[in-house]
Symmetry: C2
Subunit: 149 residues, 2 copies
């Protein structure tokens, strides 16, 4: 997603299009690694050395409320991702990598439909996380050595 598309979506949401906001949105929307606030900060700081974490937090809130990104709160900190469609997250408990699963989207949609139809609970969004060992760390575990070896 390029800056013009992002700017258009921001205008639709009736928030100001500032260079900082554009950069933060671009950093998350073009990411696939579910970056932390600190990582987003580091990536944006190259272009905006004076930016502070407060600006990052503020804008991530705006972007989340606009539905452009999704916040994934974890135990210690939040991560952010551009994929707001129903899907499964794979969280490695060894190296803390988070990736979107390639399978299971339809299953999540079906599950959501089922919850909606079989209960009085009105679903707004969902989060499906599977915790375990990523391929790399699983292999290292089998061989009894760290993944970085």
């Amino acid at each position: 997603m390029n800056q013009e598309e992002i700017a258009e979506r921001l205008r639709q949401w009736e928030v100001r299009v500032t260079p900082q906001r554009l950069a933060i949105a671009e950093a998350v929307l073009n990411s696939t690694d579910h970056p932390t606030v600190q990582q987003i900060y580091d990536r944006v700081r190259d272009h905006f050395p004076s930016m502070t974490l407060a600006t990052i937090y503020s804008n991530l809130g705006v972007l989340e409320r606009s539905g452009m990104i999704q916040e994934l709160p974890f135990q210690k900190m939040s991560r952010y991702e551009p994929n707001v469609e129903p899907h499964v997250n794979l969280v490695c408990i060894q190296c803390e990598t988070v990736m979107d699963a390639e399978a299971g989207q339809e299953a999540v949609v079906r599950l959501r439909n089922r919850i909606s139809s079989q209960s009085d609970f009105q679903v707004a969004w969902q989060r499906v996380d599977f915790y375990g060992w990523c391929p790399r760390c699983a292999a290292a575990k089998r061989e009894g050595s760290p993944a970085g070896a």
Copy 2:
């Protein structure tokens, strides 16, 4: 689950069976409202006025590592629940109530099996949360009045 059963499980895990630990375990294992640390603290304090939050945290960690309970980290704080089987949590974004969904357990199991078989990711556990409005808050929203009215 009564205290003797809990004590037995603790002995199997080779941790000491203290009155405080028993009380904390009992408070969570017999709960259905996914209590916060503070709520567990309040419920146990009746019997142990001198207990501190550090003891609560310490014991919740022990119980979680033993597989007796599951920690559910949220944005602001963690909640704890006795249901360690695959299931769906319904989280109300209005009143912050968390409840186990009656439907969907099998679907979660199937989804887990699918993720396990169709990828190299080795699943250890999962968390499936649906966010939205609980029946009470949904009704209040439709009538344009707060749930407490």
